[in-house]
């Protein structure tokens, strides 16, 4: 309804530049609706929505894997599933949740929210943004292929079963099959996606800010995404190199990690954790950013200690590179190294604690509204605090000698990643979905979602502290009945079912809200940052008039301070906003990577008499497709078209769209 009324206000324009004849082959598609519109889109909002939906899908996949794991462990010496199936499940559960659920769910908000928060019309490189999305999907599909391949009669090792950490030399061809190749190339593809997206967001945040949006006026979520971007481009190369070495070990017989060739399996651990520890902060910093947006809004106060929250985020990012070996306290590090890494790890607790103090300071003296996103944000603080405490316990290296690789660690990082990251992402979903869909949700059901997730989560994971200190190692498909572990395992399984119900309830809630929710309007929460000045959902071009920023919490200032309101009223919509044309090439380039990866995974497998797999044909074909797509990408016409938002802003919900 709303949209149709608006389209009539828009004058469609001819493309900005006619492609030359030579480039006609590469002329850009024009559809902005329908399936083709989605496949070729370069709009950060559509890309964000697709990121979010794919991430939620994988969240459910990973969740089902987790539930099967918990059912297997409900009673001692259970034989619901085999040892191999169990090993596959925990490998894929970890890989899926980290790379395919939590990271992309964060990326969904990077995409949708950042340009809106910084007053930009899109990201710096819209086609590259689409490429990140499709590459992520390619990686997600690729790494899960094994579940289907294993259904074939001749194949039984296509699902990785080496743990999400893939410690050498269990990943050697002597000990693992083609599933490991799927894992290696799947992670490489996902790494490309992450690095490309990170570069895009760094450039966007640094270069695309609206006039007056100085770095110290940047909303904290955008700040944390900026730090995360730097973490990604600095951390991912380490695992890229490690995976390349492993690939060469497996396919071409080099011996980086092969003991019989004098290789060093310990080298993998260093490379992996130089990536793996910053990865933890890649997962948690955007979450902290989201919470730092929601808490001020629902307390009706600015963020307490903005500067120190930003600064401590940066410090966490820097220190995050100096603590990787605390994952390796039991590998026989020297006493000096143990001491150094233990102290550095404890030091990280300081900037983390500072954030918690400031979040409480934000609420202090406020008018706290217990909306669903606020409940998740407060729940986040509690859960993250507990996860942080067990983190300090691990930092005491000798105590970690008992805790390492037990359920105590499992409890710890689930408190950080579910109670922390995921609760914050749920904060973000409830907070921003009215902006994204234009519809409100019902608070009553939202509270049910929160409390069932909160209760289920704690019932699942708090007992795992006891299990771990009671001597239950991780990654074991069975435990004996006489180890004193039976009760808490059963409790934990029951909790996981409650948590599962909570997440299903959330999915249902989203459907209901999209269908029957009330109109959200521009500013349902009395928001503080610029995204709330726009219609819900925002028009293609986001800002009819690029805002002139004069303060932190700009939108709040405009609502509160009459002079700022007057200034804002002087901003006039531009005549004709240039919009980038859609493009096929990001999608094609990602498909090329997918094909190439299949070819590489089968290169040295025993399954080589099938459609030319086992030869270089498929890798080369994939490579050619990707190179061709990049070529086409470079040479397709500049495309683009103009949109003309209505001249008079008589209706705040104005938006526009061509064709």
């Amino acid at each position: 309804m709303q949209n149709e009324g608006i389209r009539s206000n828009v004058i469609t324009d001819t493309p900005v530049a006619e492609p030359s004849k030579a480039a006609a082959l590469f002329s850009r598609p024009t559809a902005t609706t329908g399936v083709i519109g989605w496949l070729t889109t370069v709009d950060h909002k559509k890309i964000g929505i697709m990121y979010g939906l794919a991430a939620l899908f994988f969240l459910i996949v990973g969740g089902i894997e987790a539930l099967v794991i918990r059912l297997q462990l409900a009673v001692p010496n259970n034989d619901l599933i085999s040892a191999q199936a169990y090993n596959e499940l925990f490998t894929m559960h970890g890989t899926t949740m980290i790379f395919l659920a939590v990271m992309p769910l964060g990326a969904a908000f990077f995409n949708y929210i950042i340009p809106l928060q910084i007053g930009a019309r899109d990201v710096a490189f819209p086609r590259l943004n689409a490429f990140s999305l499709w590459t992520f999907l390619a990686g997600g599909i690729f790494i899960n292929t094994g579940w289907f391949l294993n259904m074939l009669p001749a194949i039984n090792d296509a699902v990785p079963k080496i743990g999400w950490f893939g410690y050498a030399n269990l990943t050697s061809t002597n000990f693992s099959g083609i599933g490991t190749d799927f894992w290696v190339f799947g992670l490489q593809i996902l790494g490309i996606s992450s690095i490309v997206a990170a570069l895009n967001f760094i450039v966007t945040i640094i270069n695309m800010r609206a006039p007056g949006m100085t770095m110290m006026r940047l909303p904290v979520f955008s700040w944390m995404v900026l730090v995360t971007g730097f973490l990604i481009i600095l951390a991912f190369p380490a695992i890229t190199i490690a995976l390349a070495c492993l690939m060469m070990d497996r396919l071409f017989g080099t011996g980086f990690f092969e003991p019989i060739f004098g290789g060093q399996p310990i080298l993998w651990q260093h490379l992996f954790w130089i990536f793996g520890h910053p990865e933890v902060y890649i997962l948690i910093l955007p979450a902290m950013g989201i919470v730092s947006e929601a808490l001020p809004t629902f307390s009706r106060k600015p963020l307490f200690g903005y500067a120190i929250i930003v600064f401590s985020g940066v410090v966490i990012g820097v220190l995050g590179f100096a603590v990787w070996a605390h994952h390796m306290f039991t590998t026989g590090l020297s006493t000096v190294a143990k001491t150094a890494f233990a102290l550095a790890t404890m030091a990280i607790a300081v900037p983390t604690g500072v954030k918690i103090f400031n979040w409480i300071g934000t609420m202090w003296g406020g008018q706290i509204r217990f909306t669903t996103p606020m409940l998740f944000a407060i729940g986040f603080i509690w859960m993250f605090m507990i996860g942080g405490f067990s983190g300090i316990m691990h930092a005491a290296a000798p105590a970690d000698g008992q805790q390492h690789n037990t359920y105590f660690v499992v409890a710890h990082f689930h408190y950080v990643l579910i109670g922390g990251s995921l609760f914050a992402l749920f904060t973000g979903m409830y907070y921003w979905i009215p902006k994204i869909s234009g519809r409100m949700f019902t608070e009553k059901l939202g509270k049910w979602v929160f409390w069932s997730m909160f209760a289920g989560f704690n019932i699942t994971f708090f007992p795992q502290h006891f299990l771990g200190l009671g001597g239950m190692p991780r990654r074991t498909y069975q435990y004996d009945a006489d180890m004193g572990l039976n009760t808490w395992n059963m409790v934990s399984t029951i909790g996981s079912l409650i948590l599962g119900v909570g997440i299903l309830l959330f999915i249902y809630h989203m459907f209901v809200s999209l269908k029957r929710g009330e109109k959200a309007g521009n500013d349902p929460w009395d928001g503080r940052t610029l995204e709330w000045s726009l219609p819900s959902p925002p028009p293609d071009y986001n800002f009819a008039a690029v805002p002139n920023v004069t303060s932190r919490d700009e939108f709040w200032a405009r609502k509160m301070i009459p002079e700022k309101r007057k200034l804002a009223a002087r901003e006039k919509p531009e005549h004709g906003i240039h919009m980038p044309s859609p493009s096929w090439f990001p999608l094609i380039a990602a498909v090329g990577l997918l094909i190439g990866a299949y070819g590489m995974a089968f290169l040295k497998s025993d399954y080589d008499n099938f459609l030319g797999f086992g030869t270089l044909f498929w890798p080369i074909l994939g490579l050619l497709i990707t190179i061709g797509a990049i070529y086409g990408w470079a040479f397709e016409g500049p495309g683009g078209y103009h949109l003309h938002p209505e001249e008079e802003k008589h209706d705040k919900e104005s938006s526009g769209k061509s064709k």
Binding site: V354, F389, Q402, L469, Q478
Partner: protein, 351 residues
Amino acid sequence: MRQSIRLAVFGSLMVLFAGCGVLDNPMEWFRGGNQSTFDVKGPVARQQLDLFYVTLWVTLFIFVTVGGVLAYTTFRFRQRPGDSDNPPPAQTHGHPLVEIGLIAGAVFLLVIIAVPTVRAIYDIYEVPDDDDMLVIDVTAYQYWWAFDYPDEDVTTANEVAIPVGRKVKFNLRTFDVIHSFWVPRLAGKIDMIPNRSNWLWLQADEPGQYWGQCAEFCGESHANMKFRVFAYEEDEFQEWIEHQRSDALEPDDDDELAVEGADLFRRRGCMGCHTVQGTGAAGMAGPELTHFGSRKTLGAGMADNTEENLFRWMRDPDGFKPGNLMALDPQVQNLTDEEIEALVAYMKSLK
């Protein structure tokens, strides 16, 4: 109403804590089982537990204070009816003195943890200076353990004996992938990594049976890779060593089944992988079996060493312990039930 609930919760917690003597031993109510890190019986695990308690008390203190403030804040500053019409609260931006004070407080609390941490690192992870120390070489295989006593000239598998009250240094090596050596009630774990010489030391203060388990994911039967440590008084330990050093017992001639089993052991290729000292069987791929009949467990600490379990193990090794090498041997797959019974009798006779 809310007030009374909180009082009730607080009160019951206090009663619970008091009843458990929580201040002396905060985890007394959760002793756990035979791999519990709370039920420690040696100086290394004791120091690790004490350090854990330091971290527990400090973080509990932070949790109560910060959590208390957080709970108070959410309660005290909740929106009240009519607030939405009132002007917004004061838009304060932070307070440098508060920030600096909190940072200093946090650093101070971390120092309380850091000092015993560093001390424990140097106590536990340096080679103790002790001439009396016993040295045992451990080699981990998928999915079992070989134990060698280089000075005593003893080799055994999956069950290791140590003297009470003496420091023991375990040299930790692996044959294939990464494993991790862990006896929770005696000491924290150390990994066994290819091309790397790791070790740990521990000491048992009381005689007894201590459970151990591999603590690094090592493949299909990682969960089934366990072992036992038996701590004996010194004289008993010396007896054990003497016994281990002796050749295997020949089965009694009356025990026809065991005699047949000994014959099968030679003929059906068992000796290709297993050593039975004094019989010519000198295989190295599987666990040493010279005194297997005297062991408490089989399958690397997986199950009690009963005739029934032994039969199940040889009947279907892969079903019993997925992914183990013996399952791949066609000679094992072709054994008849009668032959297995004979082999079981022979195994049990190897006291």
